[in-house]
Symmetry: C2
Subunit: 90 residues, 2 copies
């Protein structure tokens, strides 16, 4: 079983209304040192796959089909761990 | 300016309704190899701070005051980069 983390974020040009509201609220709480804040989604998956490349390909397919909206969002896939792989060395 | 990434996730025992719905939908699309899926938030911040430790402390304060609900959620803080630090060496 392989654990994968997907980060789904609004594309740079898209207004992040939620992020703007939170940034403003933090400003009101005294965090004047905050320069920018944007909010996205993290999706933690566990998938039954043969190796990292296979897991990454399957998760990429999930992103394209459901997890991300390609018009508004970008996504990045990070393979966190492979429970079947040996813990040390290769 | 230091960029920091905060991951806010429901605590392990808390039912993730959104994640369960997405997992079910992916199952319906043929992703039978998906074993688990949970959804959280990623908050990307840029903060004007003196070094990583200072940035981390400030963001931890933001999490405690606003970004995370300590009853339902856990958070992890990852310092992504320090624009003031030299690119190579120390």
């Amino acid at each position: 079983m392989i654990t994968v983390r997907v980060l789904v974020r609004l594309k740079p040009g898209i207004l992040d209304v939620q992020g703007a509201a939170v940034k403003r609220a933090l400003g009101g709480l005294g965090f004047a040192d905050l320069e920018d804040l944007r909010i996205g989604k993290v999706v933690d998956l566990a998938i039954d796959a043969n190796g990292e490349e296979h897991a990454r390909a399957r998760v990429d397919e999930m992103c394209r089909k459901l997890l991300a909206n390609p018009i508004l969002e970008d996504y990045t896939i990070e393979v966190v761990g492979d429970l079947a792989a040996p813990r040390s060395g290769r």
